[in-house]
């Protein structure tokens, strides 16, 4: 709890430290962008007013020699840089591009200063974004203002080769193949060789991980193992009151993902375990695998009033009185149960392994 508090304090401290710098950055960039846009708008209006007469003055399409002339004339705007009006446009464009470029350089220098002086993430990211953004803007502006744009029209080539080309290629292939003396051997080499290399390659995968051992079926617990808490204390028959629950492990693998077990104490009269499990829950102590049978999340929440275990990942619920049968959500199989007994000293011990392999389902699962 206190750890959480200190984490929050640190976070809020960080946030406050950055907040003022961040606000300044945002205000500056918004103001800068607005100023830049209003200048650009004025310039654009001026220049387009001046050049409107020259628009479409040269509707001749920019065709390559391989292009079809019969395509007609494109109606795209065509700004000619040779006319005096558009020379103005080039001047204004140069100014705009230079402004954007200057802004980019300024932001880049800002980034370097912040980087070397240990500035925070927001200052670094903000200046980097401004630097790259203004550079991109400069490029786009130069394309719009300084380069002529003409719509180009070109014929498309066929997608398929011509019949003569295709036949010629096929004929050359056949001619080559006819020269090969022992084609059968080459075919066998190709087929068997490929098969062999593929098998060798796939076999190498075995080393990456092989389920052929019994680990999937392993029910982890063994008869006689004491139930231990996460901090290594043995659990006795007095440890819990009805309605309580804790996480327990076998004494030799504390903290193990697969062996984690939830121990619950309920009122023994409420139990509805099947007949062959009648002695699995001494004094109302029930132990189930804590790994959800649906997708393997730890079934962490126990609701004492409804006697339900709830998985936080997909909200499957299991009724602990009823051998942890699923009662809602996407799980289809009950949580494996661990038979318990109390020894002469009152320590709770496992009667055997889990009733089924713990964890999500798989093809060979019994």
């Amino acid at each position: 709890m206190s750890e959480d508090r200190s984490r929050e304090d640190e976070l809020s401290g960080r946030k406050q430290k950055h907040a003022s710098a961040f606000e300044l950055l945002v205000t500056m960039s918004v103001l800068g962008w607005e100023a830049f846009r209003s200048v650009a708008r004025i310039l654009a209006r001026k220049s387009s007013g001046e050049t409107s007469s020259t628009v479409l003055s040269h509707p001749e399409p920019l065709l390559l020699d391989r292009a079809a002339d019969k395509a007609g004339t494109p109606s795209g705007r065509d700004l000619d840089l040779e006319t005096p009006e558009s020379a103005h446009r080039a001047d204004w464009g140069t100014l705009l591009v230079a402004l954007a470029f200057a802004a980019s350089v300024t932001a880049g220098v800002g980034f370097l200063i912040f980087y070397w002086s240990g500035g925070g993430n927001m200052l670094l990211g903000g200046t980097l974004a401004l630097c790259l953004g203004f550079f991109g803007a400069a490029l786009v502006l130069s394309a719009r203002w300084l380069m002529r744009h003409r719509e180009a029209v070109e014929p498309r080539e066929d997608f398929s080769s011509s019949d003569t080309e295709r036949e010629a290629a096929f004929e050359d292939y056949c001619a080559g193949a006819r020269e090969v003396r022992s084609r059968a051997l080459l075919k066998w080499m190709a087929a068997v060789g490929l098969g062999m290399f593929a098998t060798m390659f796939v076999s190498l995968m075995r080393g990456l991980g092989s389920p052929s051992g019994q680990s999937l079926f392993d029910t982890v617990w063994k008869r006689g193992q004491r139930l231990m808490t996460a901090d290594g204390k043995p659990v006795t028959s007095n440890s819990l009151q009805p309605g309580d629950s804790i996480t327990v492990f076998p004494e030799d693998s504390i903290g193990s993902e697969k062996a984690q077990t939830v121990l619950i104490r309920v009122n023994a009269q409420l139990l509805r375990l099947p007949g062959d499990r009648s002695d699995w829950a001494p004094m109302g102590y029930l132990a189930y695998s804590r790994v959800c049978t649906h997708a393997g999340c730890p079934v962490g929440l126990y609701e004492a009033e409804s006697h339900l275990l709830l998985c936080p990942c997909h909200q499957s619920t299991f009724n602990v009185l009823d051998a942890a049968q699923p009662t809602g959500g996407p799980a289809a199989r009950p949580l494996p149960q661990l038979p318990l007994y109390a020894d002469a000293d009152g320590n709770l011990r496992a009667g055997s392994g889990f009733s089924e392999p713990p964890g999500p389902g798989f093809w060979e699962m019994p």
Partner: protein, 458 residues
């Protein structure tokens, strides 16, 4: 200098003809054609930032005790991978910026791919001869999703641990090959010692290499086939209208690269993403309530929550409940997407090559289907966060889930009907002015009508 270089290269490689063709290559201008470019450029940003991160990341699950500058986790046991991610976030200058930019770039990448794909789908650019690029693009989407997941799972924080468990359960559930698949990919029963190195190898070498090769092929095919045009004057199956690569298109495209980079930098600098230090290190016994995968996997998560708990026993074999929403459902979705161009050809008997795009209203069924699938996915995405919605709205998760089980079918159906109706009414409105002649391709009609939007970029 440039002239000297060009001359010396040309005298060795006979470049002039190729270069001239490249400089004069025609690309149509339209804002929606930039979506693919955005995806390409965010991939470049991913590679740049990713290489930087790889220089610091320690892909090992060896357990260590943290004594770094983030005081709240002082003395906590954690994997070397998580510790190196903390070090990168708190002690490397601009390290956090690079990490956040990398994560944001992945989100932008996937967002751009999906938007690009939607543009292709709704304008029917997947038709012959471009089915091949549709297939390559889809494959890139699959690999991008896989790599996104691997990326945020590598860090080994508590949240990614939950995702890893679920991924393991999904792979394990596949009939016959499931256990082998899960063990080969994740190195054993998660969290196994080899899990992080396996994911690192795939995330850093295998998947990016595959995506890079596919990008090269994708672009090569676009180059070879030339880009499609929206319908408009002179835009026919035999002609391409647009601007030449050199110089203005190059400048604009390069500018777009810097703008995408800037957008990702501002996200990475100003908007927090994946604050791993708040989640804490992976702990096999703990789980985060309200945990969600990144949005591009939310639809699978939603399907897993909505699908009822049904086991299938075949003889002595088990098909677990996770198989149906976690394996079968995504397989069906992608199989339909992969096959869609062929399915349409099969139904319409239209096997001619097309170079002019079809506008969405011209094919009501296609458009309505696309909209319905989008809504379907959005409902599933909402279902993937149903516990969060329930907490926020005060409704019970059970009630919300039964509602979503109905909505997931009803809303797409309603969407289908509405979008179909809109397309038909648009068609009617336009056909009053220009009655369509049957048997004439849409492009020709549009050209004669001349009433259609065309490129406004000048």
């Amino acid at each position: 200098m440039i002239q000297w270089l060009a001359r010396s290269l040309n005298s060795r490689l006979r470049l002039a003809r190729f270069v001239r063709a490249a400089l004069n290559h025609v690309f149509p201008d339209h804002w929606s054609f930039m979506l693919g470019e955005i995806a390409l450029y965010s991939f470049v940003v991913l590679v740049i930032t990713g290489v930087y991160l790889a220089l610091f990341f320690n892909a090992s699950s060896a357990q260590e005790i943290y004594h770094g500058s983030y005081r709240a986790l002082d003395g906590v046991r954690m994997s070397a991978a998580y510790r190196s991610a903390l070090y990168l976030s708190f002690d490397v200058p601009a390290g956090l910026l690079m990490r956040q930019m990398h994560h944001w770039a992945a989100d932008v990448f996937l967002c751009a791919i999906i938007a690009h794909m939607a543009r292709i789908f709704f304008t029917a650019a997947y038709r012959r001869p471009r089915e091949i690029n549709w297939v390559i693009g889809l494959t890139m989407l699959v690999f991008a999703i896989i790599n996104g997941f691997l990326g945020y799972s590598l860090v080994d924080d508590l949240l990614s641990g939950a995702g890893l468990r679920i991924a393991y359960a999904i792979m394990l559930s596949a009939p016959v090959i499931g256990p082998w698949l899960a063990f080969i990919v994740l190195g054993g029963d998660v969290p196994a010692y080899a899990t992080i190195p396996h994911m690192y190898g795939m995330h850093v070498f295998v998947v990016p290499a595959v995506i890079a090769v596919l990008i090269a092929v994708h672009l090569g095919i676009i180059w070879r086939q030339m880009h499609t045009n929206y319908p408009g004057p002179m835009r026919t199956d035999k002609l391409i209208v647009g601007s030449r690569l050199w110089p203005s298109y190059t400048a604009k495209s390069l500018g777009l690269f810097f703008l995408v980079f800037a957008a990702i930098a501002s996200l990475g600098g100003l908007v927090q993403i994946d604050p791993i230090w708040i989640y804490g290190p992976f702990d096999p016994v703990a789980a985060v309530p309200g945990a969600q995968p990144d949005w591009y996997l939310g639809w699978v998560e939603g399907a897993m929550r909505l699908f009822p708990g049904v086991n299938l026993r075949i003889g002595g074999w088990l098909v677990p409940e996770v198989f149906f929403p976690g394996v079968l459902f995504p397989l069906i979705v992608f199989a339909v997407l992969y096959a869609y161009p062929l399915l349409e050809q099969f139904v319409s008997f239209d096997k001619r090559p097309h170079n002019v795009l079809r506008l969405p209203w011209q094919h009501p069924f296609n458009t309505a289907l696309g909209c319905a699938v989008f809504v379907f996915m959005i409902v599933l995405l909402a279902a993937g966060g149903d516990d969060v919605i329930a907490v926020a709205s005060g409704a019970s998760v059970v009630a919300l889930r039964s509602l979503l089980r109905v909505l997931v079918f009803v809303l797409p159906a309603v969407t289908f009907a509405i979008s179909y109706g809109i397309c038909v009414s648009l068609q009617r409105r336009r056909s009053v002015v220009h009655p369509p002649a049957s048997g004439v391709s849409a492009a020709v009609q549009d050209e004669s009508a001349g009433s259609l939007p065309r490129s406004q970029k000048a």
